[in-house]
């Protein structure tokens, strides 16, 4: 414990309040490994030269294909991308590599599937819109995402499904208001989190699921906040959307559940997002209440925000201290 590396900050602070001379400080910076020594430089140059060599060579090859792309026969174009997809999948199934590397390759191949569909659409001019593109892409990597148990891939799939729904609403389906669309996305993302948590409830390593849940939860909170804010901020010519009250209700239910979960599991994260979302909603409500007097409203909101966030942060800090009192 005593031999842990000193940080630069500690060295600066110590030298601020002592008469430590420059040469001594330099020596300590070297000994604590903050300044780079020959070994570090050697490793850096080693990795840099190799990395640059690979990066430039790959970039050169990609540019070469880009130059010749329109001259290639369509079977060649499709063949190249399909070949890459098949090779990638075979490697991730059978190669003797670390599991993480295999899953990363599979994630990369998922992007190539999107590329494949794009190339297909470009060659055959099918007239498919972006909605069909994203729908196809989501469907085709769905099974991989379930099987791979790799959080980044789940994230890609979640992003694709969300995009598909947004494009559906814009291009093909009924024209939902922002409130309704975001409410649907909120429901989708919450369902995805619930599914992920249930699916992997028996696994020992919960870290990927937890991180995945946190990221998707942030998106879900954003969706419901946008939903309610746009529902409140209607102007005189539009009626309040029908879905505003269901949105508020679902928000209260889900937030209540999440807050309960947070308190039980001593995790601060959701307790940070939820109040922030509520503060934003209340702010927009105040803005709409006092639409005419903008100067005073701004001042009122500024005071409200400072007050509420101060209260929130102090509560969270106190909560944090009681949870981690023995650290």
């Amino acid at each position: 414990m005593e031999n842990q590396r000193a940080t630069r900050k500690q060295i600066h602070i110590i030298s601020r309040y002592s008469n430590w001379h420059a040469a001594g400080i330099k020596r300590t910076l070297r000994e604590e490994g903050i300044y780079a020594d020959k070994a570090k430089w050697a490793k850096f140059i080693d990795v840099a030269l190799l990395g640059l060599g690979i990066a430039f060579a790959v970039a050169g090859i990609i540019f070469f294909f880009a130059f010749n792309w329109h001259n290639l026969h369509k079977f060649a174009k499709l063949g190249i991308v399909q070949g890459l997809v098949i090779t990638g999948v075979l490697v991730s199934l059978f190669a003797n590599l670390k599991p993480v590397v295999k899953k990363l390759i599979l994630t990369g191949v998922s992007f190539l599937v999107g590329l494949l569909f794009a190339v297909f659409g470009q060659i055959y001019q099918t007239g498919a819109g972006t909605y069909d593109f994203f729908l196809g892409w989501s469907v085709f990597i769905f099974i991989w995402a379930i099987v791979a148990e790799f959080a980044p891939l789940w994230l890609v799939l979640t992003l694709l499904i969300n995009t598909t729904i947004v494009l559906y609403s814009e291009q093909v389906g009924p024209s939902w208001s922002a409130t309704t669309l975001c409410l649907i996305l909120f429901a989708l993302n919450v369902a995805i989190i619930a599914l992920a948590q249930w699916f992997y409830r028996n696994y020992a390593d919960k870290v990927p699921v937890i991180l995945f849940s946190k990221i998707v939860a942030l998106a879900a909170a954003g969706c419901i906040t946008i939903s309610i804010v746009s529902g409140i901020s209607v102007n005189y010519y539009q009626a309040t959307p029908d879905t505003l009250w269901p949105a508020l209700l679902s928000m209260v239910l889900v937030y209540g559940f999440a807050a309960n979960y947070s308190v039980r599991n001593k995790s601060l994260y959701y307790l940070c997002i939820i109040p922030l979302s509520i503060i934003i909603i209340i702010t927009s409500w105040i803005m709409n209440l006092f639409r005419e007097d903008s100067g005073g409203t701004f001042f009122l909101i500024a005071i409200f925000v400072v007050f509420s966030i101060t209260v929130l942060v102090n509560t969270l800090i106190t909560l944090n201290k009681t949870w981690h009192a023995n650290q």
Binding site: Q4, I13, I25, W41, D46, F64, A66
Partner: protein, 356 residues
Amino acid sequence: MQTNNHTDGLIERLSELHGEELAINREAIDKELAADAEAYQGLGIKLLSIGGGLLATFFFLGFVGLVLTQASEASIFVGLLIMAGAIWLNKTSTNTILDTVLISSYLASFGMIAFGMVQLHVDANAIATVLLILAVITCVVTSGYMHNFFSVLVASGCLFAFVLINDAYEITHLLTLLLAWSYAWMCLNETDLIAQNPQLNARYMALRNGLLFSFIAILAYLGVADFRSSSLQDNFISGLIIIAVTAFVLYAIVRALALRAKDKLMVYVLGGILLASTVFAPAICGALLIVFLSFHTGHRTGIAAGLVALVYFTGQYYYDLSYTLLIKSEIMMASGALFFLAWFILKKQLKRYEQN
């Protein structure tokens, strides 16, 4: 607390090393380290405080802006008042939300002062000079990290504004020299500067990071065709200046590592070839300078910023090149081959150093 343990260990080692002559104000050190640990309360809370502070300032300034639209003198006066208030309050505050409000108010006050002066039809050069002086005064008066950091950015911005206002595009090279040289000097003389006096010590990291980002800003101006004014000819002058500074930095690093003559030669030859190839791309060269300096002094922010800048500026350079894709692809593959060749030649020697 854990921090105290390694500080104890470090101070013990120092006392052994330097003996009687080392006088340490233990109390002040512990107090400052404790304050530092208090400030970091977890990323979620920190982001919440900053987000809340920004939101509050946005609305507060909206209020001020609406009230003050007509009165330009009032704008200047209120701006100065807020700036002074923000600096004074910052000395006594430990609350992250208050800090955020104070920093954003401080920045907004610059805007208010400039806005007021523009309304009064003050000469643009005079406005830039006033802001520059205010930034320098801030650095002198307060030792807060954010205040010093933003002051350096504002000061560099004002210097750059002189170039734009007076259409004196050749002066850009002078500015490049100033920023490259001051950044390099600050990094290489870290220990001398922090040992000199406590005031400089407290401001050091802020000033250095400010210079880093100002330097990156001017590299972006030189390197990205959309930003660069068409009246700026002779980009290679800036390239030569930066190469000269980088060459000096390499010399300093070689001396610090105490390399053997053969290795010194290798570094200078390879470094020379690498730098010479970037003479028409000062942005790439500048990014290399940042990476070398930051890696040498173990400055993680600098390494990250330098690498991102390097990748971005290299990509931008190739994008702006007006050759066909085929020729670009050939250039890239040739460069890749050269790097592979260099790696292959140096492999054994590097492994030997890594083992040591």
